[in-house]
């Protein structure tokens, strides 16, 4: 009996050892929000507000949102016609993740050109 318990304990420990270390990223409700955004047009407004609130919460607590999340909010804002705010979020993505620098710089300069052409 004892050895059975020991066996189970060993099994549990070895399973714990296999669990890959989590990056400790803040995801908020990203996956579900993204799913809702892609499948239910009537949820779009809610998703934008929810993601904005999530980023604000992260910043208040000095936590870094997971890779891509600043830019995703930028895109949601852009599609909602909030270009200036979108640029701010793309800049945050660029400053947080060096791998995104090329893309974010391209997006920002295109949006700034667009704004200049539109005369605002």
């Amino acid at each position: 009996m004892k050895s059975r318990v020991a066996g189970i304990v060993a099994l549990v420990f070895s399973l714990c050892g296999c669990v890959t270390t989590q990056g400790g990223y803040q995801w908020g409700n990203y996956e579900q929000d993204l799913y809702d955004y892609l499948h239910s047009p009537e949820q779009k407004k809610r998703v934008v507000e929810n993601q904005l609130a999530f980023i604000a919460r992260c910043e208040r607590l000095d936590l870094t949102p997971a890779p891509g999340l600043y830019a995703e909010v930028g895109t949601l804002l852009l599609l909602d016609g909030r270009r200036e705010q979108a640029i701010d979020f793309y800049a945050k993505e660029r400053d947080t993740w060096p791998e995104s620098e090329y893309l974010m710089t391209t997006i920002i300069s295109n949006l700034e050109k667009e704004a200049a052409n539109a005369g605002n």
């Binding site: 059975r4 499948h39 997971a66 895109t75 993505e93």
Partner: protein, 231 residues
């Protein structure tokens, strides 16, 4: 009793063996080692099933699993939106684009292509079997194949329990209800996450770690060529 003891020992041994892959020196993915990719561009998912939601459903599950493996994952909805600006709406069309051009457009080290082969809930007698089958291919910005996997996972609400063994009619009714629920709202998302976890994190195809993973340096150090001692 003896059998259980033995089974436990075997199980523990297998678990430990599964963990011990850090000691293996054989490089399963030499193209990954050559490139050491930092970022992954996940493009929209090709859907070969009849369910129109399969493509976007799978897409929504990919960023988390890859980022937790240590990669910078390009924001998938931003990528999808930018591709649409470029006139690329159809995933199949995007998959046919030159990988070198896609990678250059976004500044990505590698591009992940995912195809849904099966996404269905089939009703068989008093049971429903939900199946998800996905194929994943990671390609370098240079066009070289880096890593690939194909995974089929399925779920039946009446498998592994004894509704049917309990009592004839009652058990049948319970399982028919469970099957009907599964058919009405199939467990596609948990199955998709399970497939992702197995191919990227826990299975035989576990993908090498990205730069934000704690084992990134130690993983690639294993395959570093020793200094050549040529005269």
């Amino acid at each position: 009793m003896q059998a259980i003891k033995l089974l436990c020992c075997v199980a523990v041994f297998l678990m430990l063996a599964g963990c011990a892959n850090t000691g293996v020196r054989e490089d399963k993915y030499p193209a990954m080692t050559a490139l050491k990719p930092r970022s992954i561009l996940v493009v929209p998912v090709v859907n070969n099933s009849v369910d129109v939601n399969a493509s976007t459903s799978v897409l929504s599950t990919l960023p988390k699993v890859l980022a937790e493996r240590g990669y910078y994952v390009f924001p998938v909805n931003t990528v999808k939106t930018l591709l649409e600006y470029e006139g690329l709406y159809e995933p199949a069309e995007i998959h046919r684009e030159q990988v070198t051009e896609l990678a250059e457009l976004f500044g990505a080290d590698a591009v992940l292509y995912v195809t849904v082969h099966k996404w269905a809930a089939e009703y068989i007698l008093v049971n429903t079997r939900t199946t998800v089958e996905l194929e994943y291919t990671l390609v370098a910005r240079t066009g070289e194949d880096l890593w690939s996997a194909r995974k089929r996972v399925s779920y039946s609400p009446n498998e592994g329990n004894d509704y049917l063994g309990k009592s004839g009619l009652e058990g049948l009714l319970v399982s028919a209800v469970a099957a009907a629920f599964e058919r009405a709202d199939p467990n596609y998302m948990p199955l998709t996450r399970k497939a992702n976890t197995e191919v990227f994190e826990t299975g035989a195809t576990v993908i090498p770690p990205g730069p934000y993973a704690p084992d990134y340096d130690t993983y690639y150090q294993k395959f570093e060529q020793p200094e050549s001692t040529a005269p």
